[in-house]
């Protein structure tokens, strides 16, 4: 499984719906977006801090550990750091696979593990 992980301070963008690998019939892309409400408060955005070298390593390890159960062709993860305004994406995960089931499965499992184990923290600035 091809894995590409990026962490950036720049706004994230989707690459559209063309697949790189012609054997793939499924492309699933998830964007996690900053909500304008934090509990009862209206917020302008969230500040994301990361221990970047470890975050990259940990995301790579998680994806490799899921590859057996969910055999996908490729996964691209973009995670933003720094201030992310409400309404913009803090994370985009794009999965290409032969069929949709493994792409949905990998994406859901990866997001759960990301939120549990990857050293990234958000706070209200």
């Amino acid at each position: 499984m091809k894995v590409d992980i990026k962490m950036t301070r720049a706004p994230l963008s989707s690459r559209g719906v063309s697949v790189a690998d012609g054997r793939c019939g499924a492309l699933v892309e998830f964007a996690g977006v900053v909500r304008k409400e934090e509990g009862e408060r209206i917020i302008e955005g969230l500040d994301y801090e990361a221990y970047e070298p470890m975050a990259r390593l940990e995301m790579g390890k998680i994806l490799q550990s899921l590859a057996g159960e969910f055999p996908c062709a490729s996964v691209e993860v973009q995670h933003r750091v720094g201030l992310v305004p409400a309404g913009e994406a803090s994370v985009i995960v794009r999965v290409e696979s032969k069929h949709r089931a493994e792409a949905f499965g990998l994406l859901a499992a990866f997001m759960d593990r990301l939120k549990a184990d990857v050293p990234i923290w958000k706070s209200v600035p």
Binding site: M54, P119, I120, W121
Partner: protein
């Protein structure tokens, strides 16, 4: 120059210690001894010990890990990415 262990603090632990990193000169220490050293210097860390994991050189440390000079040790409070 003596080699040292570098300890990294993130999120609210950075606010508590007032720094992102601290250099500590010590022989190999287990997690419990390392915590004692850190809490002695920053007593407010005690309240955050439970729930904070230790990582050594970018990898979550096992319970019986020994941390030594030249290691980069990170205190990882509960994460909230995504």
């Amino acid at each position: 120059m003596d080699s040292v262990m570098r300890v990294l603090f993130f999120a609210h632990l950075k606010e508590i210690t007032g720094t992102h990193s601290a250099d500590i000169s010590t022989e190999g220490v287990a997690a419990s001894s390392l915590w004692s050293l850190l809490i002695e210097r920053w007593p407010a860390l005690l309240a955050h010990r439970e729930g904070t994991r230790l990582a050594c050189n970018g990898i979550y440390a096992e319970a019986d890990a020994i941390f030594g000079n030249n290691d980069e040790v990170a205190l990882i409070p509960p994460v909230s990415g995504g």
